[in-house]
Symmetry: D2
Subunit: 342 residues, 4 copies
Amino acid sequence: MRIGILTSGGDCPGLNAVIRAAVLTGIKEYDFEFVGLRDGWRGLVQGDVRTLNRSAVRGISRVGGTILGTSRTNPYDAEGGGADNIAATMKRLGIDGIIAIGGEGTLAGAKRLADDGIPVLGVPKTIDNDLAATDYTFGFDTAVEIATEAGDRLRTTGDSHMRCMVLEVMGRHVGWIALHSGISVGAHAILIPEHPMTIEEISEYVRSVYDRGRAPLVVVSEGFKLAGMDEEYSRKGVDASNRPRLGGISEMLAPMIEEATGIESRSTVLGHIQRGGAPTGSDRVLATRFGIAAVRAAADGEWGSMVALRGTEIERVSFAEALGELKTVPQSRYEEIKHLFG
Amino acid sequence: MRIGILTSGGDCPGLNAVIRAAVLTGIKEYDFEFVGLRDGWRGLVQGDVRTLNRSAVRGISRVGGTILGTSRTNPYDAEGGGADNIAATMKRLGIDGIIAIGGEGTLAGAKRLADDGIPVLGVPKTIDNDLAATDYTFGFDTAVEIATEAGDRLRTTGDSHMRCMVLEVMGRHVGWIALHSGISVGAHAILIPEHPMTIEEISEYVRSVYDRGRAPLVVVSEGFKLAGMDEEYSRKGVDASNRPRLGGISEMLAPMIEEATGIESRSTVLGHIQRGGAPTGSDRVLATRFGIAAVRAAADGEWGSMVALRGTEIERVSFAEALGELKTVPQSRYEEIKHLFG
Amino acid sequence: MRIGILTSGGDCPGLNAVIRAAVLTGIKEYDFEFVGLRDGWRGLVQGDVRTLNRSAVRGISRVGGTILGTSRTNPYDAEGGGADNIAATMKRLGIDGIIAIGGEGTLAGAKRLADDGIPVLGVPKTIDNDLAATDYTFGFDTAVEIATEAGDRLRTTGDSHMRCMVLEVMGRHVGWIALHSGISVGAHAILIPEHPMTIEEISEYVRSVYDRGRAPLVVVSEGFKLAGMDEEYSRKGVDASNRPRLGGISEMLAPMIEEATGIESRSTVLGHIQRGGAPTGSDRVLATRFGIAAVRAAADGEWGSMVALRGTEIERVSFAEALGELKTVPQSRYEEIKHLFG
Amino acid sequence: MRIGILTSGGDCPGLNAVIRAAVLTGIKEYDFEFVGLRDGWRGLVQGDVRTLNRSAVRGISRVGGTILGTSRTNPYDAEGGGADNIAATMKRLGIDGIIAIGGEGTLAGAKRLADDGIPVLGVPKTIDNDLAATDYTFGFDTAVEIATEAGDRLRTTGDSHMRCMVLEVMGRHVGWIALHSGISVGAHAILIPEHPMTIEEISEYVRSVYDRGRAPLVVVSEGFKLAGMDEEYSRKGVDASNRPRLGGISEMLAPMIEEATGIESRSTVLGHIQRGGAPTGSDRVLATRFGIAAVRAAADGEWGSMVALRGTEIERVSFAEALGELKTVPQSRYEEIKHLFG
């Protein structure tokens, strides 16, 4: 059997560990061959491939990013796309099946291809931890660790100047990275998309911390929205085009907190460093297990499924299951830690 | 309610995060008071306590070790020990219940006290990940991370000299740290207590790696035993008292590998640095959740139980359940990664 | 002798190591006493002090920030300021001399006080490495290390997406952090205040890297100015008040590079995490040596001087020497590495 | 011009950064060609070479070890060695000059070859920082940083159990790594080869720390020798063959301290992890500057010299100067920090 592997969507620490484990296990356990499809679905629809043998995957599990490149190409929209074209390309290249590593968009594409008869398997990838079908995926742990190191650093400079430090972490739609890194650094407030707050509520936490003689530390998801934010904008006459985009929430919050409390406030946006670089040991282990499980599913002919972590086990789930609703932070998890605030 | 907290047995990154979360949640959610019992059960049997208020737990969740100190005192054997004496001491100090954070020995003591009517709750602690009742506990992730960093470093020096590097990690009875850190660093052989191997088998892996032009990297649990090791000793006339103790297995293996393969081999014993220092973000989160859950169990009067991680949830389990057999690495987990070897 | 210590200006990893070393050496070698002046010169002019004994400095050398707090108060402008008032305050508090740890502004204040007869000693602090009197100061090495880790991470995500990554590091007036961290991460262009470039020159580097099949990595000082930037603004009709402030140069550059080259570009601003958190070993050593040298200078009655690193030795220099021109990156150092660009 | 590069002796973080900088600068600034000589002098005497072009050095400056391999081959003793043979080999391979990166033995070989008319340049390498001709070399900073991280970790586990922790670091003949990492972690005693102490003196420090309620932390160079150690052995009847070798001093000290003080003591030997893995930013900068300077010296025809760091400048020195006496820790540097002890 000859399997094509692709990585699609935003990159994530651990992608290479998936690739390496799949290739080594496939070659040594099942005598499979592998080709790498360049830049996600683009490599498949355009038949742009590279060799994936043992030496190609040597030492890559501790390297961030993806050796295969990635893109946001959709397998149906692209030129050469669609199930028929892809089937033809696979036949031409002698590829019997596809392992697609990616997030919700990628898996949705994979599902549609599977429904159209293409033998494809999914490996879930989401730094934000927003896929319901799996307890965790690789990359999330690394992102939390990087945010933890940054928050630990911000705390001491905050304390020295008695400033409120606002740390913005990834999480467009869900607050998992903010929740975990906020707990980890002992944040005095954690602001997540699932739980809008007013600037008054936030300022209340900030002030109470300051009044106890400590420098407030706030961790905020990039996707957090202030309760009443739109009204606030209107009140100030801020035009929609000038309202902060995703990724800039902390830069808006810091001056608002400063204005509301009189406490000097500073913003830090972690941004891309959360998704680059060497994965944590924990992410390498999970990614390796996913890679092994994917190739075993291929050997079992279980096309159309996706691997997932459930407790301590790697299981196979249907794409449909994987593509249900977004896994948001449940209210109970947020309530659990609210007494650590303020 | 006034609760005594103690940490017992070997220290572990995350202990302080448990303490902090329990104290903050207890004070703010339930209006509890807390005292710290010094040096594990010793503090309880001798009534040696310290204050645990908000300022005492400030900023400790990122600090390794335990602010309460620890010891291996047994609550029944020590002077002042036994349920009756302890009940009297608790009464005298106004302590209504105990949260005991510790490993199997500690939890066995806690169970016996609970059976004898002392209100006590358990929080599981084991760097080695050998408690069956919980998916993971804090400290394990940090130990794997430290071993991963060490293994990544050993690899480059091994490659430069074409030496076989043998890295010994913690794990007296179970191989979890070696398994996870070995996967993480891409070890060419992982040697664990659950899976004895002969020196010939190990050498076979080492030689095949070397013959492919790579420097072999072996990760070994401190508790690994060579298959046929005792026979080997006898053959060489090595007296029992001179046989390597736990903690020295890599120092025995490296010269044996060198002798068997002719490949220069070096040993590194990570030792105590695996259990000290700042916990990973992931361990801080888990420890914090355990601390919160323990104090909530106290509020619910659920004495005699232990908190545990099951999937992504924190649950309460009975001590009996916690104290079943050692959680060893199942053969399936070892088989899963064997094609990454050699 | 009773010595007051203060830290002033922006915080910096290593301040606490200076304090600890001065206090321990002073107490044990000279039988001195110490008081901490809170929040820089504010503590001196307002007589706001705290105890600095052995237990107060326990374990602080590895903690970022300053346990004494800091501010930008000027000893002459503040209420209670000026040499006469300060002399009176010192007499009242029984303080015989001052060790002032700070950057150029702080040292200028210290010089003026010394000229006015106040016994004061300086310890140089500048994360940016812009003081000519000393080869290096503590904090710089930590900032370079943090920027190095961030750059290493950005590289892998850049490679995966074939994006140009622009990393902004500290350095308002001098490019040392950008130079060293740029070398360290293997940046394809390093942009520093001392060496303006046009967007065309930058784009040329970026494009040539991309054309070789690599993802361009640009490191830029916050104080870098585009050659012809003001003209560019005028051309685009951008009002002065909307031109990027210091600290936002990378956010301006990334879209300009993208526009000029057609290569997707992303910006990351490291900001405050460069100045917080645990100092590197190297910074702890330098800071410790400065603290020891300062207290020895006090013992020798060498008031009015500042400690400085020259080669591998700590020497005493006059304030006047310390306050000469800014230490910029010499053209030769920039030329040295230009062949690593592109 | 066509230059051969070799790395010889023990590996060291930063070797690859030297190679990369020399190759890039040589190719781009001077149009030189490069070949890599495999495994130190062995590659030269046996004419075993590999290509060193731009793509061969891509991204290697952050990778530990050496891509060229290393060995302890002596250019005069080896088969094919000696100046005449080497000159013939160089002619055959079209190599016009050699850049040899190594420690004292390597540089001594280089000097002899230079004296015999072979065009050779030196780049100093010593993790131990024992070469007098240069203020520092790359690798030392990384080793100190790794020892600092380990010491920080040991401290918390020591504190929890009130144990004396003994950390052994590299340094066979000089105590620089122990001195700097000992200062950095706030060790209560630093034991270096230059300053023998008796077990009674060491125990005195340990006891006084313990009596103040703290867990003693001792940092010791591998080459430290107890004052009166030989007498001690004789007294105990320990045969010479059973006396600890270099590398095992901490394992001897810990039980001796425990016996002398009654304080539980534990040993950790860092070993090979100090020399592997990614160099610190500071080491990458220094190594890069050395590589650039070496190729510039070649362009200037300055064969027979070695590059060296003096203050903040890279200079050229004669081999003779480089090979003077070992750079030991001067008594003044040791005295400087003695009040931080105990």
